[in-house]
Symmetry: C2
Subunit: 107 residues, 2 copies
DNA sequence: AATGTTTATCGTAATATTGCGATATACAAA
DNA sequence: TTTGTATATCGCAATATTACGATAAACATT
């Protein structure tokens, strides 16, 4: 087959996996780290920095926006991306809840 | 194309993304949660519980083992899986370091 | 207005992942 | 030894993801 059977898992499991999945690509890690490294929003010299073509970066940015990790503010013909701190912390805490509730039992 | 250009990212970014990626599938979340829900190691009625075919579960277990999140102990003709608590905590802390170091700057 | 710049989207090629039937392997039980 | 049970691996089909050229859209600059 090849299609993830999302219907047999509950929505919480799908949501959690969905967040992990977005973070599960080195380009998206690199983009997040680059945005963070700058003390202000950086409009897209991300393309230059990361080393992937502009459409590819745009696609990765879209994924990151989709789960709310970053926000883009339009400034003229440029877009200024920044990390959405509230959502960032929310996701961190959400993942920690998973780790704390799941990693406790063993033989 | 379709191939992730791992060579243009540093090994830390690839490693981090690799961990996120393994956690980025609802079946693997479900497996981890099921193993955890039992107060002891669970030999594999995972197949029955999760609702995917045995080869599929076996493949997911292999991925989880690969990054060290679970360990399987052979007991006769069964294998007993449990969460590797040290590695579990190590990964949690590793991901938290990423979140703490990256999510700080904005416009 | 014409041209350049920046970003998003479309379409497509290529690789990756998912899922499972068939099978192999290893041990258990009879 | 034969049969059953549990798990891993192989091979394949199908979907998903990644990457990017071409192009569109929106604004800036001249």
């Amino acid at each position: 087959m090849g299609l993830t059977k999302t219907d047999i898992f509950d929505s919480r499991q799908n949501k959690l996996a969905g967040i992990f999945k977005v973070l599960g690509h080195p380009a998206r890690i690199a983009i997040l780290e680059y945005i963070s490294k700058q003390n202000a929003c950086i409009c897209s010299d991300i393309v230059e920095e990361v080393g992937l073509a502009q459409p590819t970066i745009s696609q990765h940015l879209k994924e990151l926006k989709r789960i709310g990790l970053i926000e883009g503010e339009i400034e003229g013909n440029k877009v200024c991306y920044c990390i959405a701190q509230d959502r960032w912390k929310e996701i961190q805490s959400y993942l920690n809840t998973f780790f704390n509730e799941t990693g406790t039992h063993c033989c």
